[in-house]
Symmetry: C2
Subunit: 235 residues, 2 copies
């Protein structure tokens, strides 16, 4: 299930120039799915991140690495359980809302497994960073109470600092790792954007809504580039 697969896909488009937007970020509103579908999707994603991180704990080169990564695994697991609790609060069986989305994540799961521990870790770092941002913006169209709670859950789910702390020293110390991870990161972002786009696919999407979609993706890619830069990797 976690085996490596290689599927050719186009390189991401040219790196967009993104102006820093301060506190206000572009949000989806008209494309936000109905709340139960949104929660099911967000819960399924956190479960994917947890499973990837749990694998990273098992494969970790030493106990210190296990500790750092297990902290990240705990963060993803708490977010998953909090989102499941929101589904229960709405009176639905979480599994029923996660299942349709989980089934579509097979390709993604294979894509983020990577060839070694560092590729796995970078893939989780990049994909969780992008998809958490995506979900936070997509939450813009949820009812106000739910939106607030979901953003609190996802805001606490940030894995970045924990994973950067593992990756930065390794990139500095292991010859050639930075070059390899730079290439790997370009593949990962492509697969991650496919997940994000597929999450919008089910929504009715009249062509005029493209005006809403594209600026968000441009910003998501800009944030991705900053995550790569922070690791000294060319995006």
């Amino acid at each position: 299930m976690w085996s490596r697969r290689r599927v050719a896909h186009p390189e991401p488009a040219l790196r967009p120039v993104v102006a820093p937007t301060g506190l206000t970020k572009v949000e989806f509103t008209a494309l936000t799915p109905e709340p139960l579908a949104f929660l099911g999707q967000a819960a399924a994603l956190q479960l994917e991140f947890f499973e990837g991180l749990a694998l990273a704990v098992m494969r970790a080169p030493d106990l210190a690495a296990k500790e750092g990564v297990s902290a990240a695994a705990g963060i993803a697991l708490r977010a998953h359980h909090a989102l499941i609790a929101e589904l229960r609060r709405e009176g639905v069986e979480p599994v029923s809302m996660m299942a349709p989305f989980s089934a579509g994540l097979d390709r993604f799961r294979a894509a983020i497994a990577g060839d070694d521990w560092y590729e796995l870790l970078l893939a989780i770092h990049l994909s969780s960073g992008l998809l958490d941002d995506f979900s936070i913006r997509l939450a813009g169209g949820l009812p106000a109470d739910l939106r607030t709670r979901v953003r609190a859950i996802l805001g606490e789910a940030a894995l970045g600092p924990r994973l950067e702390a593992q990756l930065l020293p390794a990139i500095a110390e292991i010859p050639g790792l930075g070059d390899r991870l730079a290439l790997w990161g370009r593949r990962v972002v492509g697969d991650t954007l496919l997940v994000a786009r597929s999450a919008l696919r089910a929504a009715e999407r009249p062509s005029h809504l493209q005006d809403e979609v594209e600026p968000v993706f441009t910003e998501l890619i800009g944030d991705h580039t900053r995550r790569m830069d922070a690791l000294g990797l060319t995006a």
Copy 2:
């Protein structure tokens, strides 16, 4: 792996073994290792349980099973992190205290993997049940403050109800599973008792201290039998 400092008392003054009552269980006292070694061992065990449960999440037959088992994984991970925090509070690097014990767990790790998901789950259920009880009793000789905190951590770490909830319906529904798991449980308890005994091995153990050890193991095995009975399995 156990510090010899704690057992350097030439003639350890055996505190009276607590008489079993409805609430009080037999405890170790003279054989409790020094606090840092105890915490390192307990933290390493919770990490093992977490890794086993994380594997069980990945291998789970469906999303409902993933949810039940991931809740158990979260419990073990919280206990692991709480014990690590206790080590930090004592001013030591957790990894340095876990490493000696972790290295000895290879055999145990292989032993609990099992041939399928149900064997893995039963092995974690039985081994965590026994070893958590073991640690709670072994905590009897810790300084009072630490003892209270450790017992609170381990008391919250109980995985039993979550794992029983997964195993009971499967045993009822899958022909032959109960017989297979009954045999498997006997192997698992053997390997688990080896872990418990090896945790005491490094301690100087004058023969008169056997008087303290044996009643505890007798009770631990009795509790194991009750766990098997609760699943309808012959111990």
